[in-house]
């Protein structure tokens, strides 16, 4: 039987790359995102690349109404399915510092909206006793850095939720992979200063699918970010608080 993927935040470059990597395997794909008109173009593309069936569903982290339709569609799926959550947003830290009321939205986009969605999908997956959840967190969630700690805090919350979900869903045969990308060449990082070792979205998608196949728990992508973040996590707080990274 071929695989089914619900891709949340399907317009992102990493999501597009993941969908394209699964299409030649005759995957069934549900593309969920805000710009459904644009997602229809992805759907057409993925069909030409070999996907068995592609559907487009509206999903917006700021519009809880869209969640119910997505969950209902998932409930109607026959057999196990996988969920990959790419939805998220990263406003500049300085913008949030100027207007702290933006924090709630950042948390909603990167943690609570998609977290709620996963909690609603969890029973469906438990009932099917199989499938994989891919949650895209970030290296930014590993430590609160000077330039990026609002986004990082939201991603840290999401990563902790994924960790708990892994424990819960593992008991029913559902696996949860936490993906922590470093710098990836996407619209989010395009033109930002200080980018280095920027990975192609296709390379990240390949890493994600390898992690799914090997049932890895937490993966950094590209792999060397595991080392970079191990060092950053090990810096004692009295020193870390003075660093500019």
């Amino acid at each position: 039987m071929t695989e089914t993927w619900i891709i949340v935040g399907a317009s992102s470059a990493m999501a597009r790359a993941l969908a394209r990597a699964t299409a030649p395997r005759s995957a069934t794909l549900l593309l969920c995102g805000r710009d459904t008109e644009d997602l229809q173009r992805d759907a057409a593309d993925l069909r030409l690349r070999g996907a068995q069936a592609v559907e487009v569903l509206a999903y917006d982290t700021r519009d809880p109404g869209t969640e119910a339709a997505l969950v209902a569609r998932a409930a109607a799926l026959e057999g196990p399915f996988n969920v990959a959550v790419f939805a998220g947003a990263m406003p500049p830290q300085t913008e949030v510092e100027a207007d702290p009321s933006l924090l709630a939205g950042v948390v909603q986009d990167n943690f609570t909206a998609t977290g709620t969605l996963l909690l609603r999908l969890a029973p469906l997956m438990e009932a099917r006793g199989a499938g994989t959840v891919v949650g895209v967190a970030s290296v930014a969630g590993d430590r609160g850095r000077l330039g990026n700690h609002v986004y990082g805090a939201a991603k840290a919350g999401f990563a902790t939720l994924l960790s708990g979900l892994r424990n819960r869903l593992g008991r029913s045969g559902v696996h949860v992979v936490t993906v922590k990308p470093g710098f990836v060449d996407t619209a989010m990082t395009w033109g930002l200063d200080g980018m280095f070792l920027v990975a192609a979205p296709e390379a990240v998608a390949k890493d994600i699918l390898a992690a799914v196949r090997r049932r890895r728990n937490v993966v950094y992508t590209p792999w060397f970010w595991a080392g970079i973040m191990a060092i950053i996590r090990s810096v004692p707080e009295p020193i870390f608080k003075k660093l500019q990274i």
Binding site: S11, A13, D38, R41, L48, G191
Partner: protein
């Protein structure tokens, strides 16, 4: 939309621009961006000089708008966004028995770039140029609004866009007529050619659908114009398509001595003798045959950090023999050429007023960027104009406006179309400024 302000270069890495690049990932974002900040489009940056550079206005990088939108197996018409790479189209369409009718020597070029440069391939003498297989275009004007352009709706604008180097607007998507792809492999025969006269005779006598000749640009005297002619045709139907081999990458800029005259001469002699005197035939995967250089990603770094120029001209049949002899003598005497040099027959097929092809022969030679090489290329450009030929704008970085006026007789009608489509010159590239492609009032 955020701009990436890092400087960028063409494939030759000699010229650069730094007015920024936007890179939309959705169609709505592209149109919105153009409405606010109009500027020319760029694709895979595989043109060599300044064709894709914009030093005044922010350019729009189209490579993330790369989706195939519709395919009709009855007619073979594929509609796709301009940023899709031709190798991607080939990889997904060949297993269905279809392929882009025209494929240049690298599969990395985008659909939009292939249209804008009206590229040609190893089958040009039979099937014409890329633009001749374009059914229609969705073109974004200076205000970001799309219009459907075809030979029926707006023939002048349509023709001016085919080979128009991006000056008529931003190609958002295009519908192209694919050609049947009967097999995933080709039967390739390679044979040594002793010199220029034999080369031109061999091309004239060949009936193979695919033809390309490597030429030893360092050889002189009796051996002037020697090389290896490759001819190919499809294998009998049935062989499956295999993607091009996994890329090996050039990890760093190569040191200059690698391309000194003595090293290149020695390399070329070995490359020539690698083919047995009696020739050889073998079956090769289609993609590997079509895109010989794509197995080595970043090969432009072999030319070192100073970059390189490629001189490519086409010469009409009646002047080709004498002009090629004079050019090759001058190139061999200079000791400046790199191993990469190609001689090819061209048919008459061309799609637009600024299209490169003409019936005759095309010569392409790489030169590491040195002051002497620039002077040599300037003389070769002059010879091309004198012989009634053309230089290829997608490769050029050294021609001057008066050359283009002599080489492209339809330049005036092109200028009229461009000025009508883009009165304020928002799509003007560095190439267009250097060569006054919009005319002097731009």
């Amino acid at each position: 939309m955020p701009l990436n302000s890092a400087p960028y270069t063409g494939w030759g890495r000699v010229l650069s621009a730094n007015a920024g690049r936007a890179r939309p990932e959705k169609v709505a974002a592209l149109r919105r961006h153009l409405a606010e900040t109009p500027g020319p489009a760029l694709g895979a940056l595989r043109s060599y000089g300044d064709a894709a550079l914009s030093g005044r206005r922010a350019a729009v990088d189209m490579t993330r708008l790369d989706r195939m939108l519709a395919f009709d197996p009855q007619t073979g018409v594929l509609e796709a966004e301009a940023g899709v790479r031709l190798s991607d189209i080939l990889a997904h369409m060949a297993p269905r028995g279809w392929m882009p009718a025209v494929l240049p020597g690298t599969g990395h070029v985008t659909l939009g770039g292939a249209i804008a440069a009206d590229v040609h391939g190893k089958n040009h003498h039979q099937i014409g140029s890329f633009g001749q297989h374009v059914e229609s275009l969705r073109l974004l004007g200076p205000d970001g609004t799309p219009r459907e352009v075809s030979g029926d709706t707006e023939p002048e604008l349509f023709r001016a866009t085919l080979g128009g180097m991006g000056l008529t607007g931003v190609i958002e998507s295009a519908a192209i007529r694919l050609a049947p792809c009967p097999s995933g492999t080709v039967e390739v025969s390679e044979r040594r050619i002793a010199g220029l006269d034999a080369y031109l005779d061999a091309f004239a006598a060949s009936t193979a659908p695919f033809q390309v000749g490597w030429i030893d640009a360092t050889a002189s005297g009796e051996a002037l114009g020697r090389g290896v002619l490759e001819e190919a045709e499809f294998s009998p139907p049935g062989a499956p398509y295999v993607p091009a081999r996994k890329h090996r990458a050039i990890p760093m800029d190569a040191p200059g001595f690698l391309l000194s005259g003595a090293v290149v001469r020695a390399f070329n002699t070995r490359y020539f003798r690698r083919i047995p005197a009696a020739g050889r035939s073998r079956r090769r995967p289609l993609a590997g045959f079509l895109f010989p250089l794509d197995s080595l990603s970043g090969w432009n770094r072999l030319y070192g950090k100073r970059g390189f120029h490629q001189f490519q001209c086409v010469l009409p049949t009646d002047t080709a023999r004498d002009t090629l002899r004079a050019m090759l003598s001058e190139i061999a005497a200079s000791g400046l050429a790199a191993p990469l040099a190609v001689l090819k027959r061209m048919g008459p097929g061309r799609a637009g007023p600024l299209s490169f092809p003409m019936q005759g022969y095309t010569l392409a030679v790489d030169f590491p960027a040195r002051p002497a090489a620039a002077a040599l290329i300037a003389r070769l450009v002059e010879r091309t104009a004198d012989a009634g030929g053309r230089v290829y704008l997608a490769k050029d970085s050294l021609a001057r406006p008066e050359h283009v006026a002599r080489m492209y007789p339809e330049l005036d009608s092109f200028r009229a179309s461009v000025r009508a489509a883009d009165p304020d010159g928002v799509f003007e590239t560095d190439l267009a400024r250097r060569l006054a492609l919009r005319g002097n009032s731009a």
